[in-house]
């Protein structure tokens, strides 16, 4: 069964304190791994897609990496506005389409 597990469930950081969020997955035939950011009361907002082990992508203070079993979202020198829930999802599906299977998310709080 396809599964995504994120850790930690919650993370509290001081402004400027770098850290990493983990997403481990088991899926038959990974087509893509997605990172989304979700603010309270809003829908998920796309951050990155990774397709193959060794791939890395960066955006401002965020960097996503991918191995054959897990992905990391590295946050460098975070600011309070980075506070949100970060969701990881894998693409899986038969029949040529790609529903997303999500983890439960990591709730990040960055304090000044």
């Amino acid at each position: 069964e396809d599964q995504v597990t994120q850790s930690p469930e919650a993370l509290r950081l001081q402004e400027g304190e770098s850290s990493s969020l983990n997403c481990s997955y088991t899926v038959s035939g990974l087509r893509g791994l997605f990172w989304y950011r979700q603010d309270p009361g809003k829908g998920p907002e796309f951050l990155f897609t990774l397709y193959s082990a060794g791939e890395e992508k960066e955006k401002e203070r965020l960097k996503a990496t991918l191995t054959k079993k897990e992905s990391f979202l590295h946050i460098t020198a975070p600011k309070p506005e980075d506070s949100a829930t970060y969701l990881c999802a894998v693409q899986a599906g038969a029949g040529g389409y790609n529903k997303l299977i999500f983890g439960a998310g990591t709730r990040l709080a960055v304090h000044p």
């Binding site: 995504v4 087509r31 893509g32 997605f34 989304y36 009361g41 809003k42 829908g43 998920p44 907002e45 796309f46 897609t49 969701l87 999802a89 693409q91 599906g93 029949g95 040529g96 389409y97 790609n98 529903k99 997303l100 299977i101 999500f102 983890g103 439960a104 998310g105």
Partner: protein, 115 residues
């Protein structure tokens, strides 16, 4: 530019009532997905449309849930005889390509509370 919109944003229903949730995807997007998000959890897949064709409804929790996209644009998720366990945020997402292989754009969701 217009993103994915959903209405209503909030819906309170008494147990046993029927509800209808609307999704307006980004114009021209072929793929449309519905997800259910319980409090503190990630979204869970409900159903998928490619234009007007519902290609996968394996995630619908029961036969009380029904979705349609008759003209390949606007979609409606209907829940009959609502139960308390149906309380959740219902998210709609659309994607430009066939199969939703690229980025899925999410709407803000409809928060359903069943009393």
């Amino acid at each position: 530019g217009a993103g994915v919109s959903q209405s209503p944003r909030y819906k309170v229903a008494k147990r046993g009532q029927d509800v209808a949730l609307r999704c307006d995807p980004i114009s021209g997007h072929v793929s449309l997905f519905w997800y259910q998000q319980a409090l503190g959890q990630g979204p869970e897949f409900l159903t998928y449309f490619q234009n007007e064709a519902q290609l996968d409804k394996s995630g619908l929790p029961s036969d009380r849930f029904f979705a349609e996209r008759p003209e390949g644009s606007v979609s409606t998720l209907k829940i009959q005889r609502t139960q308390q366990e149906d309380s959740a945020v219902y998210l709609c997402a659309s994607s430009l390509d066939w199969g939703g292989g690229n980025e899925q754009f999410f709407g803000p969701g409809t928060r359903l509370t069943v009393l």
